[in-house]
């Protein structure tokens, strides 16, 4: 009993105990923060990389095309009945874009152009989750040619969006009755109480409306242009006053796209640069910064044609089949994607390829023999592995920090025991055994460790919880250079973090254990104090 009592008194009355508590607490907090951010990092990376490209990906090389993609998709669906949720081909090319911004901010970006079949593509991976306008205005985003939507005042002087957008937003509100993000996004930008940035109708539109009485004249303007979905990092910026990401360009802004022509072998031909004008119809956020910074999505058929990868007449009057760069396959939920990959590979190499071989040009046959058929994990292995390795580093860090805690506690307790020699003698003179005296200091360490762990883990958890706000605060209030987590260096625009309860418990247990271990030698030293010596000398 007296052990706990004295340990408690020492804990609250001796200032040196605060140092010990702080030492243990800081160690625990540090490990928790690093561990949580690392966990969040790996989790986010895995999650978003899984959502990036579907479960199984077929490609020859990043920009090398191959024919008969639809035929193969059909075969896979037939041979793996009930297992395939969706499959979709993609054509890709590099290019430059210039966003034809009404405010004349010249921005040229190099881009990776993805030609996608939007509806299929949305089913094949997590693309739809990252679409902004399609999220709040479900069903409005299309890559087919469209005019620019505009807002206008109706006869009651109310601000209105085009009918299509208003009903879509109403549908969204119905499905998500209490959505705080909608509240937040609405009215961030324009005069209207809606998410996103729309252009107001101009005088010409109003005149045309007055002439014709057709409401559509107010709702849309300009000739229809093929749609393009831009990576979100090209179109938004962080506004520190509103503490939100704002979109820089109104929906429907024109985008000039310069495509580098490539041969079927993937060589760039410098003889001609094609320029096209498209319309910005949505933006996409995959949470991988590099992709959101430079990926652009347009219609599969449109891009295929522009790249001359569609069905072309050869000089001899025969036709070459249309080509794609990639096939993405999505399996049904919980399917074993490793097994599926093996089956698909076998299907491709052993059945499909021999079957189409007679129709292939020699170069295609060679290329397709090297078709890479990979699961999402394998495909993104290089960067997943890199972070997985860092987990081991964190473990080593954890061990070192624990050791540091052991030594810290050891030193502090050595000092305490030294200081307390006389008291130890007195306590023994009252009949406490050596074991009991050791028990005092072990209890003390246990208390210090527990309080330190609770304190440190709370601080750590709180810090992790508000780590992004904390960073924003430092970067905006003190110095922008103090932004540790810049999206350019890391793949995500936010510091990811996951606090797992079991980790908190383990870290806490190790912190307590480390303090007790650290106090072991000092406690033994205390036990050995010969009471007469301790009492005699002042």
């Amino acid at each position: 009993m007296y052990k706990w009592f004295l340990a408690y008194q020492y804990l609250i009355k001796r200032r040196i105990a605060y140092f010990a508590v702080a030492a243990v607490g800081l160690c625990a907090a540090m490990v928790l923060v690093v561990h949580s951010v690392m966990n969040g990092f790996v989790d986010t990376l895995k999650n978003s990389s899984r959502k990036l490209l579907g479960d199984v990906i077929l490609e020859v090389g990043s920009t090398e095309s191959f024919p008969f993609y639809d035929e193969f998709i059909e075969l896979v669906k037939k041979e793996l009945p009930g297992q395939i949720q969706a499959a979709s081909p993609v054509v890709m090319n590099y290019g430059l874009i210039k966003i034809l911004d009404p405010f004349d901010r010249d921005r040229v970006n190099t881009v990776l152009v993805n030609g996608i079949r939007l509806e299929e593509y949305k089913k094949v991976n997590g693309f739809s989750e990252g679409l902004y306008y399609d999220h709040y205005y479900p069903g409005t985003t299309t890559l087919a040619p469209t005019s620019q939507p505009t807002w206008y005042y109706d006869l009651n002087d109310l601000r209105r969006l085009p009918e299509q957008y208003e009903s879509a937003l109403a549908r969204y509100r119905e499905v998500h009755p209490q959505d705080s993000t909608l509240e937040k996004e609405s009215g961030l930008l324009g005069p209207g109480n809606w998410p996103g940035l729309f252009e107001p109708a101009n005088n010409q539109q109003i005149e045309r409306f007055l002439d014709s009485g057709d409401r559509r004249a107010l709702e849309y303007r300009d000739q229809p242009l093929p749609g393009v979905i831009l990576g979100v990092e090209m179109v938004h910026y962080f506004d520190s006053k509103q503490k939100a990401y704002l979109r820089m360009y109104p929906l429907g802004t024109k985008v000039r796209l310069m495509l580098l022509s490539m041969t079927t072998a993937g060589d760039v031909t410098a003889d001609k640069v094609d320029t096209h004008v498209l319309r910005y119809v949505d933006d996409s956020r995959t949470k991988v910064y590099e992709i959101d910074k430079q990926a652009l999505y347009c219609d599969f058929d449109w891009l295929q044609e522009k790249l001359r990868l569609d069905r072309l007449e050869r000089l001899d009057g025969t036709f070459s089949p249309p080509r794609a760069m990639q096939i993405q396959i999505k399996l049904i939920p919980d399917a074993d994607y490793h097994a599926a990959r093996d089956i698909i590979e076998k299907l491709f190499m052993e059945r499909f390829l021999p079957q189409i071989a007679p129709q292939l040009e020699h170069r295609d046959l060679v290329n397709m023999q090297y078709m890479q058929i990979r699961t999402w994990e394998e495909r993104n292995q290089s960067f997943i592995l890199a972070v997985e390795k860092e987990r081991i580093l964190v473990l080593i860090l954890f061990a070192i920090v624990s050791l540091v805690a052991v030594f810290l506690i050891g030193c502090i307790f050595y000092m305490i025991v030294q200081q307390k020699r006389r008291d130890i003698g007195i306590i023994k003179s009252m009949g406490a055994s050596s074991r009991g005296v050791a028990g005092i200091f072990l209890s003390y360490a246990l208390a210090v460790g527990t309080v330190g762990a609770v304190f440190g883990l709370s601080v750590g958890a709180l810090f992790v919880r508000y780590i992004n706000e904390f960073q924003d605060f430092i970067a905006t209030q003190i110095h922008p250079g103090l932004r540790v987590w810049s999206p350019e260096t890391y793949s995500f625009d936010k510091i990811p973090s996951v606090v797992r309860w079991e980790d908190v418990l383990i870290i806490g247990a190790v912190a307590v254990l480390a303090s007790v271990i650290g106090s072991l030698l000092p406690a033994m030293k205390a036990a050995k104090v010969w009471p007469v010596d301790a009492i005699r000398y002042e």
Binding site: M1, Y2, W4, F5, L6, Q9, Y10, K13, R14, R422, D423, G425, I426, I427, K428, S429, M430, G431, A432, S433, S434, G436, P531, V532, I535, R536, E538
Partner: protein, 233 residues
């Protein structure tokens, strides 16, 4: 002739001073303490009075000889048994009070009870222990100062708390080592009066002092000289 409670038989104690030299402090000391007596031990400074007291209170071990407590040969006990015996049967009062600085007066006095009882039985003993502590503190006249820390008390008050603490486990023998040595004359007298009161109520008391006047008031006075005990003249 009243009963013998504590006995020392040809106790020797020497200290190694290093380099082969030895300081023989006790050279075969024999002593008998009777139940209820107030025995004073005097002698010049450094003659070994404290050493003898510590050995009698089981705090230190002699090099040879035997200590017998109520017929029990103490040196034959295990150190754990000696600890328990010390806890139950001996109370120490030191010249420099030696209170625990983190604890208030009440907790200091309660502390021996906490050592006496195991964690499990402490909770049931808490009430009686507290009552006894208040009782003892009243006897030493400090019932008003329960929440004060030792550094908020005067020397005399501290020594009275120390006496209260020594009495807490109702020891068979109270061992006081120069209890007035650090106090001015008047406060020393008060503390002495308190000890005499205890003695009158039946407490066996062993008092070490080099103050002849203090020794005078004892039932019996022994003098330690050259490592031997001799009756004082």
């Amino acid at each position: 002739m009243s009963e013998m409670i504590l006995q020392a038989e040809r106790v020797t104690r020497s200290f190694d001073l290093g380099a082969g030299s030895k300081l023989e402090v006790l050279r075969g000391v024999s002593l008998q303490v009777r139940q209820g007596e107030l025995l004073a031990i005097t002698g010049p400074s450094g003659c070994g009075k404290s050493t003898l007291l510590h050995i009698l209170g089981l705090l230190d071990l002699p090099n040879s000889g035997q200590v017998i407590y109520q017929g029990q040969r103490v040196l034959d006990l295990s150190s754990h048994q000696r600890d328990q015996l010390r806890c139950r049967s001996f109370g120490f009062v030191f010249q420099l009070y030696h209170l625990l600085p983190e604890l208030n007066v009440l907790d200091n006095v309660l502390f021996p009870q906490m050592i006496l009882f195991h964690s499990s039985s402490w909770w049931s003993q808490r009430g009686p222990a507290r009552r006894r502590a208040l009782d003892v503190l009243e006897r030493v006249g400090l019932q008003q100062r329960l929440r004060h820390r030792p550094n908020q008390l005067s020397g005399g008050e501290r020594q009275r708390v120390a006496i209260a603490r020594a009495l807490m486990n109702q020891p068979a023998v109270l061992l006081a080592d120069e209890p007035t040595g650090n106090l001015d004359k008047q406060t020393g007298q008060e503390v002495l009066r308190l000890l005499h009161e205890l003695h009158r109520s039946g407490q066996t008391l062993l008092l070490v002092t080099h103050d002849a006047e203090v020794a005078q008031s004892a039932d019996r006075v022994l003098r330690l000289e050259e490592g031997q005990l001799i009756p004082a003249v």
